[in-house]
């Protein structure tokens, strides 16, 4: 039980810190946040409308109130999902814009991350087991190469080769023009076709991280006494490799899963922008281009919270994998 409580406590504390950081950041900048936002808008050559000024004020809280009251207002807004109105599309509330984009990203990033993690871990375990041999060299070299690709650039290459030249996949968007998002099979198929390239881009560029993480822990685990002893007892090679070495080498990598998630999410922001994929990444991409501060801040918050929730879930799953942590809970209850 103690493990669980610690996790929940840390989760809440981290959540609070992230939310507060989001509040503090714009106020740390020189000058009033309102002025700073307006200056950025003016510098970008946009006409600053009264609606935009009001939108920024709504987002930042009244600049005249005390910092504490601003903070209180900010927290209450978040709890009620009141993120203000977008600059670019004043008819849209920020909350509804994000609400429409979020499922796309959750599915895209979720599916590709799971695929990349499973595949990368298997490849890494294999490379570690056969280390120093040819298959290890091939896997390591390939992973080093692809892992160095900036995801957005690799996306552009795939776009050029597979979509523009070969026309195997649609060039842009999350679904065909004219289609209305619904849960029919034909629409889901259409959306899946549109997701292949961004998914492939994300999976391939993040795969190497999992490969190296697993290979390193695998090599360390292979030196452990229990692997030597398993061999001394004449267990089958497969049992030693999977049940003894890889099974234990996996543990630190599951812990690292949450920490590596940031890179995947960061990569997806730019990749979605490149492919015009209708997720939160592209929304952030657009928000940055248009200096849409309310949208930007709300998106950062949503991305952070989704990540924290994912890490929390992974932490809970970890208890199923490591009997040492599980037992700690069992003893206390």
């Amino acid at each position: 039980m103690r493990y669980l409580l610690t996790r929940v406590g840390l989760f809440v504390l981290t959540l609070w810190a992230a939310v507060t950081l989001n509040f503090v950041l714009p106020r740390l900048m020189p000058g009033s946040p309102l002025d700073a936002a307006l200056a950025r808008l003016a510098a970008s050559g946009q006409q600053v409308t009264n609606a935009q000024v009001r939108a920024i004020e709504a987002q930042l809280g009244s600049p005249h109130g005390s910092l504490l009251s601003q903070y209180g207002q900010y927290l209450s807004d978040i709890v009620h999902l009141r993120f203000g109105t977008s600059f670019t599309d004043p008819t849209q509330s920020v909350a509804s814009a994000i609400g429409r984009a979020l499922p796309w990203t959750l599915v895209l990033v979720g599916v590709t991350t799971i695929i990349a993690f499973v595949l990368g871990t298997l490849l890494g375990a294999f490379a570690g087991w056969r280390r120093g041999r040819r298959s290890d060299a091939v896997i390591t070299t390939t992973a080093t190469f692809f892992g160095a690709f900036p995801p957005f650039w690799f996306g552009l290459l795939l776009l050029f080769g597979l979509a523009f030249r070969l026309q195997w996949f649609p060039i842009s968007g999350g679904f065909s023009e004219g289609a209305t998002p619904n849960l029919s099979w034909s629409f889901l198929g259409d959306a899946a076709t549109h997701s292949v390239l961004p998914g492939l881009t994300l999976a391939i560029t993040t795969l190497s991280g999992w490969v190296f993480g697993m290979r390193n822990t695998m090599i360390n685990t292979l030196g452990e006494d229990y692997v030597v002893f398993a061999e001394a007892n004449g267990l089958r090679e497969r049992t030693v490799a999977l049940g003894y070495a890889a099974r234990n080498a996996l543990l630190p990598n599951v812990t690292a899963f949450g920490l590596s998630l940031g890179a995947v999410v960061g990569g997806s922001v730019l990749v979605e922008g490149v492919f015009g994929y209708p997720g939160v990444g592209q929304l952030l991409f657009k928000a940055v281009t248009n200096h849409d501060f309310p949208l930007m801040q709300a998106l950062f918050l949503v991305i952070t919270v989704s990540m924290l929730v994912t890490i929390f879930i992974v932490d809970l799953l970890y208890t199923r994998l490591d009997p040492r942590v599980r037992a700690e809970g069992g003893d206390a209850s």
Binding site: L21, R40, T140, W153, G266, L270, V274, T289
Partner: protein, 318 residues
């Protein structure tokens, strides 16, 4: 660890050279292997790793490219002398930008910014990581707990979105803004590793004896503890540099850099703005992206050698 690690083969000192196989080069007597000898040996270990050697060669190539850009570049990278949107030709190998600048010359000069940002931000992030990691690892208790929490927070915050927000808010848009932003976001992994190593070393005999003999804190930390984690610091540096090169390209690609800066990221930004993939100017995308990938890869490759410094199990067979 099994009995078959070479380290347990002989008592320390029993066999000359046995110490070389140990996991950390422990400097029991400050000053005996001087810093230069130490660095030389570290360099030799890195060079003995085939992958790291390739990395050093690639990095060397880009350093030369950055230094020699004014001599090698066929045109002034900023001059708008040419017809805009040209494809590759004999005069403009990589074509021209929408402003009529020579992309190849820009490409050569771009190495300067990428290297500068990569190394400067890598240095900044490593500096933060070393300071926080050492303090946190050497001072258990409240200080450690607070720094630990901040480090974990920085680890779980999504890096690129955070950088985007920071860069969007910071009014000035110079290369140094990006260096600052990257340094502020890329230190956490290194800090965590250094913290745990410092915490381990704190309880080692040679540190204990220095404490009892009344050495000053600064001396203990910098003479006894820091030299024993050179490989960790180096690994943090190259990891942060990789992140910095990637982040710089990403931020500039998003248009969050200064468009007047000549760098691989801004070339990509311009290419994206002018839809150059669809107009046949694919080299404008391909070349700078590949350069970023190769530079990032060189750092990763060098880190293979650095890893082998600290973990003999990862060493390659000669």
């Amino acid at each position: 660890m099994s009995v078959l690690s070479a380290g347990s083969l002989a008592e320390p000192g029993a066999t000359p050279g046995a110490g070389e196989h140990g996991p950390v080069v422990v400097r029991e007597h400050p000053g005996v292997p001087g810093p230069l000898v130490f660095l030389g040996r570290a360099g030799a270990t890195i060079w003995s790793n085939g992958k790291a050697r390739v990395g050093v060669v690639i990095l060397g190539f880009f350093v030369l490219m950055a230094l020699l850009a004014p001599l090698v570049a066929p045109h002034d990278p900023a001059a708008t002398d040419f017809t805009p949107y040209l494809g590759p030709s004999a005069t403009n190998w990589f074509g021209t930008t929408g402003n009529g600048q020579d992309v190849f010359s820009q490409f050569l000069y771009g190495a300067r910014v990428s290297l500068l940002v990569g190394l400067a931000a890598g240095f900044g992030a490593t500096f933060v990581a070393v300071v926080l990691g050492l303090v946190s690892g050497y001072r258990p208790g409240v200080v450690d707990a607070v720094i630990g929490f901040v480090t974990n927070l920085a680890l779980v915050l999504p890096g690129i979105p955070l950088m985007i927000i920071l860069a969007a808010y910071i009014p000035s848009h110079s290369v140094w803004t990006i260096v600052l932003v990257v340094a502020l976001t890329a230190w956490a992994t290194g800090a965590r590793v250094i913290r745990s190593q410092a915490a381990t070393l704190r309880t080692r005999d040679f540190v204990r004896s220095a404490q009892f003999s009344g050495e000053r804190l600064g001396r203990i930390v910098f003479r006894e503890i820091l030299p024993n984690m050179t490989s960790l610091v180096a690994a943090s540096f190259f990891a942060a540099s990789t992140a910095a090169v990637m982040a710089e390209a990403s931020l500039e690609f998003l248009g969050l850099g200064n468009p007047a800066t000549i760098s691989w990221g801004t070339i990509l930004y311009q290419a994206q703005q002018q839809n150059s993939l669809l107009t046949g100017q694919w080299l404008m995308i391909f070349a700078p992206g590949l350069a970023i990938a190769l530079l990032a890869m060189s750092f990763t490759l060098i880190n293979f050698g650095v890893d082998a410094l600290s973990n003999p199990r990862l060493r390659e067979k000669a």
